[in-house]
């Protein structure tokens, strides 16, 4: 309404004056209307419309856009946060597990080491014991062999002595029995010796 009135004022002004003056006339026109240019005038209609449009938009957009959008953003952020938390938890867990593994591994290694050490010790002991037993056995066998050899030797000597004595006695007997002449004696001795040799 007011702007239309102003438009008329402008129209009159432009009709009246040259282009250099009309803006002044137009300003004078505003002053007649109450001192304010049209874009500064109070317009309660616009106020009411603004409130209606804004509140209507707030109502519609809240239902249609803001709620679903914000809900989906929230949900997504929640999912991301949960995933991150979970990842952190898994990392923590895997760290703990690997530490545990290392601990178990170290313990196993120590145990194995101890086991090897002790078995080596045991083997050494057994070896030493066996060696000792073998030494003793050897000594015993040697000793018994010596005794046996000694006994055999002694028996052989005794046998030899007996056989020699028998032979000597037989030779002597035969010598005495055939004591005729020298030649005969010689032949006899040779014969006897041959006999003895053949017997022996």
């Amino acid at each position: 309404m007011s702007s239309e009135l102003n438009g008329q004022v402008y129209a009159q002004a432009s009709a009246a004056g040259s282009s250099e003056t009309h803006s002044e006339v137009a300003v004078a026109g505003h002053e007649e209307k109450g001192g304010l240019p049209p874009f500064l005038r109070f317009d309660p209609g616009v106020w009411i419309w603004t409130m209606i449009v804004f509140l209507g938009l707030l109502f519609i957009l809240r239902k249609m856009a803001w709620k679903p959008i914000l809900a989906s953003i929230d949900e997504r952020e929640k999912t991301i946060k949960e995933s991150l938390d979970q990842a952190a938890r898994i990392q923590e867990e895997s760290k703990r597990i690997s530490e545990e593994q290392n601990k178990i591994l170290a313990a196993a290694r120590t145990e194995a080491h101890a086991l090897i050490q002790s078995s080596r010790q045991a083997a050494e002991d057994i070896r030493r014991k066996l060696e000792q037993a073998a030494q003793e056995e050897k000594a015993r066998i040697l000793a018994s062999a010596h005794t046996e050899i000694e006994a055999s030797k002694r028996a052989a000597i005794a046998e030899l002595r007996r056989t020699t004595a028998d032979l000597s006695i037989q030779i002597a007997e035969k010598l005495i029995r055939a004591n005729l002449d020298d030649a005969k004696q010689r032949a006899l001795v040779d014969q006897l010796i041959t006999e003895v040799n053949g017997k022996a």
Binding site: M1, S3, E4, N6, G7, Y10, S14, S19, H22, S23, A26, V27, P37, P38, F39, L40, F42, D43, P44, G45, V46, W47, I48, W49, T50, M51, V53, F54, G56, L57, L58, I60, L61, R62, M64, A65, W66, K67, P68, I69, L70, S72, I73, D74, E75, R76, T79
Partner: protein, 288 residues
């Protein structure tokens, strides 16, 4: 390439020459005032017929007939609803379209940089729809005002005053609801001050309360109007020099200012939302 340049320059010169007689018979003041004022006529482009809007709708002595700015408000609202009908479609919790992603980025920005720092994590979800509506409504109005033939609703002082009044009511009511009316009013004034000083302080604090909203109103109005006046003044040099040919010289500058105005459109929507959130936050968390 050369042919292309020739064609473009021929077209530009032709258009300017064709518009010269249309634009010749106005004064600059008339031209500016006409283009930044609300009216019941809408004349988007010189060669289109003037659209006459209905007048004389009276309710309780108030003229509520839809002026050009009311029409633009409704248009912006429809545009917003259309945009978000498109952008709020989602699949597996993610927007379907790139446009939806872009708008969602703005929504997240408003939440993280505007609302949450001022209202705190607990109050934010409740207030998000309010501030998002303010931000996107103002952004849409600011941006469509840059389309030739569409004027700036956010540069209408009645519009910004109405919005500022609404926010004034909102932050006071929010403060009273959150802290209790008595506590809220008592907390507005400093404690332990001797009474003669209170005589001075009480009006100052009440003024301060109103000034916040007043500043909201004036800031948006002044910024948008100033920007458009600047653009129109550069264009209006055609009227001063009485020839459309000067536009060739001022065209780059007009384009530059226009691009700044695109920035201002975002900036002012952001600032208005930020300050509203700040005032609501101050009213709710009075202890700070």
């Amino acid at each position: 390439m050369m042919q292309m340049k020739k064609l473009i320059s021929t077209l530009t010169f032709g258009l300017i020459a064709a518009l010269s007689p249309v634009l010749g018979e106005e004064s600059l003041g008339d031209f500016l005032t006409h283009h930044i004022s609300n009216s019941h006529e809408w004349h988007p482009l010189p060669f289109l017929p003037v659209l006459h809007l209905p007048t004389g709708w009276m309710i309780g002595g108030i003229d509520v007939s839809p002026s050009q700015h009311v029409l633009l408000m409704l248009l912006a609202g429809a545009l917003l609803i259309l945009m978000f009908a498109f952008a709020s479609r989602r699949k597996n919790g993610a927007p379907v379209s790139r446009f939806g992603h872009a708008l969602e980025a703005l929504v997240i920005y408003v939440r993280d940089e505007v609302v949450e720092p001022n209202l705190g994590k607990k109050e934010t979800p409740k207030w998000m729809p309010f501030f998002l509506t303010i931000f996107f409504f103002f952004l849409t109005l600011n941006l469509i005002s840059l389309v030739p033939g569409i004027s700036a609703v956010t540069g209408n002082v009645n519009f910004t005053a109405a919005m500022a009044t609404l926010i004034f009511i909102v932050y006071n009511v929010a403060g009273m609801r959150h802290n209790g009316p008595v506590h809220y009013v008592a907390n507005i004034f400093p404690k332990g001050v001797p009474w003669p000083i209170m005589i001075i302080i009480i009006p100052i604090e009440i003024m301060g309360l109103i000034t916040k909203a007043f500043a909201l109103c004036v800031r948006l109005f002044a910024n948008m109007t100033a920007g458009h006046i600047l653009l129109l003044s550069l264009t209006g040099l055609i009227i001063v020099f009485k020839t459309a040919w000067v536009a060739l010289g001022f065209l780059p500058m007009t384009l530059f200012i226009y691009l700044i105005e695109v920035l201002v459109a975002f900036l002012q929507a952001y600032i208005f939302t930020l300050l509203s959130a700040l005032f609501v936050g101050m009213a709710i968390h009075q202890e700070h």
